[in-house]
């Protein structure tokens, strides 16, 4: 089969927050720029555009990634969740509510990335993933609690220059508790 002629743009479909978006992208367009400049989904922030701050964190197939180093064309076919897709209508996600209640931010620019990252951190921890501060990484080790130290290490890819780390960590901890309560309730409901 002869190779298709070279092109520098492609029509793509992006699945974002349970909606399909059809657009034609310059291959150079990052997922971050596609969200912000093409789809008016400006909740995802551009802090460094180099993968060094985490402000552009989104979930790709439910895993957190930096959208500034993800090409939009390469994100086709993947399920993308941005900060705009975290709440359930008017009901904030427990992590969002915790950030709001505990003042887990100041200027707010890193906040969408912190929240997306936090949601993923809670899932990664629940899945048994160790971290760089986990004492014993061997799989036989019983699951460890999501301590403040664990949260800090796992959230370190999200810089907050205002220095709101202390309240962010509290918010992530509370979000994790709420997540666990909701999970337990769901299990009990299913069993009932």
């Amino acid at each position: 089969m002869a190779p298709a002629p070279a092109s520098t743009t492609s029509p793509i479909t992006l699945h974002i927050n349970d909606e399909k978006h059809h657009l034609s992208v310059d291959h150079r367009t990052t997922l971050l720029d596609a969200l912000r400049e093409r789809l008016d989904l400006t909740g995802t922030k551009k802090g460094c555009d180099q993968g060094q701050c985490g402000a552009c964190t989104v979930l790709l197939d439910r895993r957190r990634v930096v959208s500034c180093l993800t090409l939009a064309v390469a994100a086709e076919g993947r399920e993308i969740t941005t900060i705009e897709g975290i709440a359930d209508g008017d009901d904030l996600h427990p992590v969002q509510q915790a950030f709001l209640d505990l003042d887990g931010y100041q200027c707010g620019y890193c906040t969408p990335g912190q929240i997306c990252s936090a949601i993923a951190v809670i899932e990664e921890h629940a899945a048994g993933w160790p971290s760089a501060v986990t004492d014993d990484v061997r799989p036989e080790t019983p699951p460890l609690p999501l301590t403040p130290d664990e949260i800090r290490e796992r959230m370190s890819g999200n810089l907050c220059r205002c220095g709101a780390y202390v309240s962010i960590v509290q918010a992530v901890a509370r979000g994790a508790e709420a997540h666990e309560e909701a999970r337990t309730a769901a299990v009990e409901e299913a069993a009932a």
Binding site: E84, G108, I151
Partner: protein
């Protein structure tokens, strides 16, 4: 028409109780739009091109090939840009930084100087074209290295007198039982706010509108109007949400070039700085080299104090980092001398950065006090309490309130200071040495003239309009509480609108003065509005609006030393194998006037302390010593503290009441960083027995210092200081 029945009365004041941010929901859902996020039809994208040489002039700019690239609309540079009016003094008493007044001549005074703006249909096209633009330079020799004894240094005033002095310094030093003479340095530090500078400019019906990210809309409006010779009323600047500022978000190259391009192209143009560009375009904290000389009696009373600070500035703009100003507030001595000096180098223009002067200055003076405590055998807190002045050491003016001692007492109690063994280098836990340190903090409580509009709406609610800026401080929320109390209503009935120059002149979010200044204006307008409402039977559909202006009230305020104070405590662990320093816990107790919103105030104080950790251990913008250009100017090369670097940091406050201040607010934006780096550095000494007088205290410096300390331990015996040879921590 509505009858003026009183709305729901607040049962107790809103001020002083915790309130979540009024814009909080927008911030956690991504709905809050920042400057680069407001959509405009026909928007074009500008990309700045910066000089790659460190000093010289532009020989040629080859625009033709770039103009032929896909999507490119124009290339602005000194050959075609409109001439700007730059010979003026702006709202804050300073001339414009020529680095912001772009494209006026062919000179290149520093690396990263803006030489052109490429505008294209898409950001990708603009970026590629900007990178393809060939600029030829005639290079000239440069000097970018700050050295303590530069003969070209000169005393410079900035916002305070350059030099102060009283008494005979040499005589008092000679008469002192204990003398200290040390040099301290701090590196170039970058604001590194999370949102890089962004502005969209457009002409709308004969009016220039700039949607921007700044710390003061009327400030930027007045600068732009003057620079472009426009009537102030024909320029509107909006800045609703700001992704951090810390002193860096004033008038910069992005707004000016965006206005030029929007004017040339007759369509909206957005210019966003890249992270790397912010390193040379957005200002920074100058490195400092500071010499502190102290002389004391055996009981610790200071006889002599000298603090001299030198910082760099660009060849085109003078900025003073007034580090020696701290001693003018904090400590008295029979002979007292301070000096702020600058030297002009081929470097970008520095600017205000969170606690300008106080942050680096408090590192030097508070580290020096710790060394004096060691040499006199006094507890560091006791030494400070013995030197508490009754009045301003330089001004002689009374303090409006000075609750530093209360901060130390409360902090010492909560931190467990009484149990501290003063000996350094004796607490070992595995491979780590532990230590604790303390330092004092102060920051001026000032205010700037502001106007506010307060409207009683026909539906019984109130609208406040003020050109305030919420750069993350929680100002929008604080002002809502202030207004609610002043209007004797509940916060839910008050809508505060900020960030729009159309609301009239107001103080910027800076100098910890924003909330104090704006609250003053709102309170004044609200008081008058309540008087009006008391005699008004009905409210017309457009409401009743009262405008205030605090200019006169500010002038009438009695001259006093008005400051916040604080006591900082830190515990650190130093890994003796690797030189890694980790802060284990930190406590700051502050006397910062009236706390409007405890929730956000605590967050901001902790944020400042977090900056202190970052300043002590991580931050250093590196410049190649040969080319004079930044090395790795990005967030991987310039380390700010991450989550993992910041342990349980706690901030709290003591009562601090200023009876003759109509506002009582002192501001909490900056005091948190003051003294914080010194507390960490003093703790590192307590852990290791080695003084680190050069920030940041990186692992390589710890390792080099401990190697040299053990090599020359015998030389050092008895003096208690690190050796002054090349192997010491200060080399």
């Amino acid at each position: 028409m509505t009858t003026t029945t009183p709305g729901p009365r607040a049962l107790r004041g809103a001020v002083g109780t915790a309130h979540t941010r009024v814009e909080g929901r927008d911030k956690v859902t991504g709905a809050a739009r920042y400057a680069g996020e407001i959509p405009f039809a026909e928007l074009a994208h500008g990309w700045l091109v910066l000089s790659t040489v460190t000093r010289g002039s532009i020989r040629t700019i080859d625009t033709a090939p770039v103009l032929g690239m896909p999507g490119v609309l124009t290339v602005l540079h000194h050959g075609n840009a409109p001439r700007l009016h730059t010979d003026y003094i702006g709202m804050l008493g300073t001339p414009p930084d020529p680095a912001s007044a772009v494209f006026q001549d062919d000179r290149v005074p520093f690396a990263g100087w803006p030489v052109a703006l490429v505008v294209a249909e898409t950001p990708e096209q603009a970026r590629e074209a900007a990178e393809a633009l060939v600029v030829m330079y005639d290079e000239e020799p440069h000097d970018t290295v700050l050295v303590a004894d530069d003969p070209a240094a000169y005393a410079a005033a900035g916002h305070m007198p350059a030099e102060t002095g009283k008494g005979d310094l040499e005589a008092e030093l000679a008469a002192s039982a204990v003398v200290l003479d040390e040099e301290y340095t701090t590196p170039e530090e970058q604001h590194s706010m999370m949102e890089p500078h962004a502005a969209t400019a457009r002409w709308d019906g004969g009016r220039l509108e700039v949607v921007d990210s700044n710390q003061g809309t009327t400030w930027v409006q007045s600068e732009l109007a003057t620079m472009f010779s426009l009537d102030a009323s024909s320029v509107r600047v909006r800045s609703e949400h700001i992704g951090g500022g810390f002193g860096s978000k004033g008038l910069r190259a992005h707004q000016v070039s965006a206005v030029m391009a929007a004017t040339a192209l007759h369509r909206p143009v957005r210019v966003v700085m890249t992270r790397r560009q912010t390193f040379s375009l957005a200002g920074y904290r100058s490195p400092t080299t500071q010499r502190v000389r102290l002389g004391a009696d055996p009981d610790g009373r200071l006889r002599a104090l000298e603090h001299r600070s030198l910082n760099q500035t660009s060849t085109v703009y003078e900025f003073v980092e007034p580090s020696a100003g701290v001693a003018r507030v904090m400590y008295d001595a029979d002979a007292h001398r301070t000096a702020n000096r600058v030297v002009r180098l081929d470097v970008p223009s520095p600017t205000w950065m969170r606690a300008p002067g106080e942050a680096p200055g408090s590192f030097a003076i508070e580290a020096a006090l710790d060394e004096l405590a060691e040499r006199t055998g006094l507890d560091p807190i006791e030494l400070r309490l013995r030197n508490e002045p009754d009045a301003g050491p330089v001004s002689g003016l009374p303090f409006s309130s000075r609750n530093l001692a209360a901060c130390f007492r409360e902090g010492a109690r909560r931190f467990g200071w009484a149990d501290r063994d003063p000996r350094p280098g004796v607490r070992r836990e595995g491979r780590r040495l532990l230590g604790t340190g303390t330092a004092a903090a102060s920051f001026g409580a000032g205010a700037g003239p502001s106007t506010a509009l307060v409207t009683a709406e026909a539906d019984g609610s109130f609208t406040v309009r003020i050109a305030a800026a919420d750069i993350g401080t929680g100002a929008r929320t604080a002002l809502t509480l202030i207004a609610a109390d002043a209007l004797e209503t509940v916060p839910e009935r008050v809508r505060v609108r900020i960030g729009d120059s159309d609301f009239g002149p107001a103080m910027i979010a800076g100098g910890s003065m924003g909330t104090r200044s704006w609250a003053w204006a709102i309170t004044a307008a609200a008081a008058e509005l309540r008087e009006r409402l008391a005699v008004t039977r009905t409210i017309p559909p457009e409401g009743i609006t009262v405008r205030s202006d605090t200019t006169e009230a500010l002038r009438a305020l009695a001259q006093k030393e008005r400051h916040s104070f604080g006591a900082q405590f830190a515990e650190v662990a130093v890994d003796v194998d690797t030189g890694e320093v980790r802060v284990l816990r930190m406590l700051g107790i502050f006397a910062a006037g009236r706390i409007v919103n405890p929730l956000t105030a605590r967050n901001q104080l902790v944020g400042g302390m977090t900056w202190g950790i970052s300043m002590a251990l991580h931050e250093e913008a590196v410049r190649d010593r040969n080319t004079g250009r930044h090395y790795a100017p990005d967030l991987a090369g310039y380390h700010v503290a991450t989550h993992a670097d910041v342990p349980a940091v706690e901030a709290d406050w003591v009562d601090d009441h200023d009876p003759d201040d109509p506002v009582g607010i002192k501001g909490v934006g900056e005091i948190g960083i003051v003294g914080a780096a010194a507390a960490v550095a003093n703790a590192v000494w307590h852990a290791t027995g080695v003084r680190h007088r050069n920030l940041p205290i990186r692992p390589d410096r710890i390792l080099a210092a401990s190697a040299s300390a053990s090599a020359s331990a015998s030389d050092r015996a008895g003096t208690g200081t690190a050796p002054a040879d090349g192997g010491s921590a200060d080399a």
